[in-house]
C-alpha cells in the first residue's frame, strides 16, 4: 500500500463517526473481557453453589455475592456470560474465516472458470439455498455429536454460498470492464487478473458480507443452542444461557436478559463496523466523506 493511500485511510480513521468509536470500544471491551476475564475471575463458571441459588445481581441487591447474580444451581452469571461471549466470538470468527476462504475460492473458480464447473457450483449453491439453513444444521448436529469444533466447521462451511454468489456476480461484471480487457491485451494470465484486479475490486463487498455473516453465525449458534441441538450443557454459550434462563423469566429475568443484551451488542457492533469498513476501503467514498 502506498504512503498516500495509507495516510488517507488514517485521515478517515481520525474522522471516524462517534457511533463507530463507541462500537469499537464496545467490541474491544468484549474481546478483552473474553480473553482476560477467565484468568482473572476467581469464580469458575462451572462451580455450583446450591446455597447461593438465583442470587440477584448487585444493581438490584447491593449486598449480593455475585456481580451479575447466579443461576438456578448457583453458578456465577458474570463469569458464565464472559465464557459464553468468548465461545460466541471464537465460533463466529473461525466460522467466518472458513466460510470466506471456501466461498471466495469457489466463487472465483465459478466466475473465472465458467463452463460446467460454474454450472455445478451454482447448482449446489442453489440447492443449499432452497433448504432452510436451520434444518440442515439440526440434521447435521443430530448426526454428529455437537462440540465447538463441529459448530465452527458446520456453520462456516454452510455460509459459503453467499460469498460464492457475490464473488461470481462481481466477477461477471468486472470481467467485461475495459481494464480487464487491457490486462488481457497485455498478455496477463487469468491468475494475475484474478489477484490484481478482481480481488481488489471485490474486497469491500466481501468484508461487508463477512461482518454480517459474523453476526449471523453467532446468532445461528445461539439459535441452535437455544433449541437444544447446539452445544450441550455443561458447555457455556450465550444461546444456552438464554434458553435455560427462559424458565425463570418471570422471577429472575436477568438470567435471560443479560446474555441477550450481550449477544445483541455483539451483533450490532460487528455489523456497524462492517459498514464503516466498506466506506473506508473504497477510495471514492473515502474522499467524498
Amino acid at each position: 500500500m502506498s504512503k498516500r493511500a495509507l495516510s488517507s485511510i488514517l485521515t478517515s480513521i481520525k474522522k471516524m463517526p462517534p457511533m463507530i468509536i463507541i462500537c469499537f470500544i464496545l467490541l474491544f471491551a468484549m474481546i478483552a473481557a473474553a480473553v482476560f476475564l477467565p484468568f482473572l475471575e476467581a469464580i469458575d463458571p462451572y462451580t455450583q453453589n446450591l446455597l447461593g441459588r438465583l442470587a440477584k445481581p448487585r444493581f438490584l441487591d447491593p449486598a449480593s455475592k455475585y456481580v451479575l447474580g447466579s443461576d438456578p444451581i448457583g453458578r456465577d452469571l458474570l463469569s458464565r456470560t464472559v465464557y459464553g461471549l468468548a465461545c460466541s466470538l471464537v465460533i463466529g470468527a473461525l466460522g467466518v474465516i472458513i466460510g470466506t476462504v471456501l466461498g471466495v475460492s469457489l466463487g472465483m473458480l465459478s466466475g473465472l472458470g465458467g463452463g460446467i464447473l460454474d454450472n455445478i457450483i451454482m447448482a449446489v449453491a442453489e440447492l443449499q439455498q432452497s433448504i432452510p439453513r436451520t434444518l440442515i444444521l439440526i440434521v447435521v448436529v443430530v448426526l454428529v455429536r455437537p462440540s465447538v469444533t463441529v459448530m465452527i466447521v458446520v456453520l462456516g462451511v454452510l455460509s459459503w454460498n453467499g460469498y460464492a454468489r457475490l464473488v461470481r456476480g462481481q466477477i461477471l461484471s468486472i470481467r467485461e470492464e475495459e481494464y480487464v480487457l487491457c490486462s488481457k491485451a497485455l498478455g496477463a494470465s487469468q491468475f494475475y487478473i484474478a489477484v490484481k484486479h478482481v480481488l481488489k475490486n471485490i474486497a469491500s463487498p466481501i468484508i461487508v458480507l463477512s461482518t454480517s455473516n459474523l453476526s449471523s453465525i453467532i446468532l445461528s449458534e445461539s439459535t441452535l443452542s437455544f433449541l437444544g441441538v447446539g452445544l450441550q450443557p455443561p458447555a457455556v454459550s450465550l444461546g444456552l444461557m438464554i434458553s435455560s434462563g427462559r424458565d425463570h423469566l418471570a422471577t429472575s429475568w436477568w438470567l435471560t436478559i443479560i446474555p441477550s443484551i450481550v449477544l445483541a451488542l455483539l451483533v450490532i457492533t460487528t455489523s456497524l463496523i462492517g459498514d464503516w469498513l466498506r466506506d473506508v476501503l473504497d477510495p471514492q467514498l473515502r474522499h467524498g466523506a
Binding site: 502506498s2 498516500r4 490486462s183 481488489k200
Partner: protein, 347 residues
C-alpha cells in the same frame, strides 16, 4: 501487396458469435460481427476505421490484438522484418508479440481500475512483462506521464480524481509503456468533450511522430477520423465497403454508403443549405444479413444485381489505393464533400 512497408495485414478475418437457444444450448445461428475483412496498414501511417455502431469495428480491433479469438482468418504482423501470423502463435510467443501491439480503449472510466493508483496503472504492462525493478518502473512511469502531459505529482492519485481527458492520457501512457510499434485506438475520443477531443487527438499525432507509431484508429465520427488518418476504411455490417486515402474518400467517394456518411456530417455554417437525404431504414440484423450486397436494402442506387450477388472488394482501375465493394462503382456519380482539413488547418 509487395509493399515492404506493410506492418499489419489482415486477411479474411471473421468473428461469429453463436446464438444459443433452448435447454441444450443448441446453436441456432451466428451473429456475424466481422464477416471477412481484409486490409493492410503501412508502417507509420494512421488507418481510420469508420462505420455505424454495431458494424464490427471494435470487434475487429479486439480480434487483432487477440483479446477475442476470431473465428477464422489471418492477422499478419511484422516482427523483426518478418511477417508473423498472430493468430497462429502460441500463448507464450503471443505474450512476447503483445509488447509491440497495444490498445487504447474507448471508455476512460472503465479502462482504468478504480482501485489502482496512476503509478500502478501505468506500470501494469511493465509488471506483467516483468520489466525492470520497482525503482526503474517508477522512473519509466514518470517519463511516460510527462510524455502525455501529466505531472509526476499525480503519481499516487486514483483515477476518479481525474477528468475524462486526463484519464484518457493515463490510458495512452499505459499503452506506450512497452514501446510498441502499433496501437489500436478504439474510439479513443468518442467519450470526451469536443474541446478535449482535439487535445487528445493532437497528443496522439505528436506521439506518433515522436515514437514512430502506427495507428489503427477506430471511430464512428468521420470528422475526427479525417483529421488524423492517412487512409480510411469504411465498414458496414461486418464488411469493408470502401478503403482509400482520406482525401479521395472525402472528395471522391465510390460507395453509396460512404456518400451517405459524408452527407450526414454537419456543417458549422447556419446559412448553408444543402440537399440532404438521410438514409432510410435500419442497419440489417447481422445474424440474418440480406443476400447480395448487404447495403442494397438502403441503397438509393440499387439494381437487380445488387440483390443477387455480393460485390467483392476490388481496387478501382486507374486509381491507386482505392478499394471499393460496389457493383456500380464506376458508373455512379457520387457526391463528395470538400475536405475541410485544409481549411481548418490554415485558419
Amino acid at each position: 501487396m509487395k509493399d515492404d512497408n506493410v506492418i499489419l495485414r489482415v486477411d479474411d478475418l471473421r468473428k461469429y458469435f453463436p446464438i444459443k437457444k433452448g435447454l441444450f444450448k443448441r446453436v441456432v445461428g451466428n451473429v456475424k460481427a466481422v464477416d471477412g475483412i481484409s486490409f493492410f496498414v503501412r508502417k507509420g501511417e494512421t488507418v481510420g476505421v469508420v462505420g455505424e455502431s454495431g458494424c464490427g469495428k471494435t470487434t475487429a480491433g479486439r480480434c487483432i490484438v487477440r483479446v477475442m479469438e476470431p473465428t477464422s482468418g489471418q492477422v499478419q504482423f511484422r516482427r523483426g522484418g518478418q511477417m508473423v501470423d498472430l493468430l497462429a502463435l502460441s500463448k507464450h510467443e503471443m505474450k512476447k508479440a503483445r509488447q509491440e501491439i497495444q490498445m487504447i480503449f474507448q471508455d476512460p472510466f472503465s479502462s482504468l481500475d478504480p482501485r489502482m493508483t496512476v503509478k500502478k496503472i501505468i506500470a501494469e504492462p511493465l509488471d506483467i512483462h516483468k520489466i525492470g525493478t520497482r525503482q526503474e518502473q517508477e522512473e519509466r512511469v514518470k517519463e511516460l506521464m510527462s510524455h502525455v502531459g501529466l505531472g509526476a505529482y499525480q503519481l499516487e492519485r486514483y483515477p476518479h480524481e481525474f477528468s475524462g481527458g486526463q484519464r484518457q492520457r493515463i490510458g495512452i501512457a499505459r499503452a506506450l509503456a512497452l514501446n510498441p510499434s502499433f496501437i489500436v485506438c478504439d474510439e479513443p475520443v468518442s467519450a470526451l468533450d469536443v474541446s478535449v477531443q482535439a487535445q487528445v487527438i493532437n497528443l496522439l499525432s505528436d506521439l506518433q511522430e515522436q515514437f514512430d507509431l502506427t495507428y489503427l484508429f477506430i471511430a464512428h465520427d468521420l470528422s475526427v477520423v479525417e483529421h488524423v488518418s492517412d487512409r480510411i476504411m469504411v465498414m458496414y455490417v461486418g464488411q469493408v465497403v470502401e478503403m482509400t486515402t482520406s482525401k479521395s474518400l472525402y472528395t471522391n467517394p465510390k460507395h453509396p454508403y460512404t456518400e451517405a456518411l459524408l452527407q450526414a456530417i454537419p456543417i458549422a455554417d447556419p446559412r448553408s443549405r444543402r440537399d440532404f437525404r438521410p438514409l432510410e431504414g435500419n442497419v440489417p440484423d447481422p445474424s440474418n444479413p440480406p443476400p447480395g450486397c448487404k447495403f442494397h436494402t438502403r441503397c438509393p442506387y440499387v439494381q437487380d444485381i445488387c440483390k443477387r450477388e455480393p460485390p467483392e472488394l476490388r481496387e478501382l482501375k486507374g486509381m491507386h489505393d482505392h478499394f471499393v465493394a460496389c457493383h456500380r462503382a464506376e458508373e455512379l456519380e457520387l457526391q463528395g464533400i470538400q475536405s475541410r482539413t485544409a481549411v481548418s488547418r490554415s485558419s
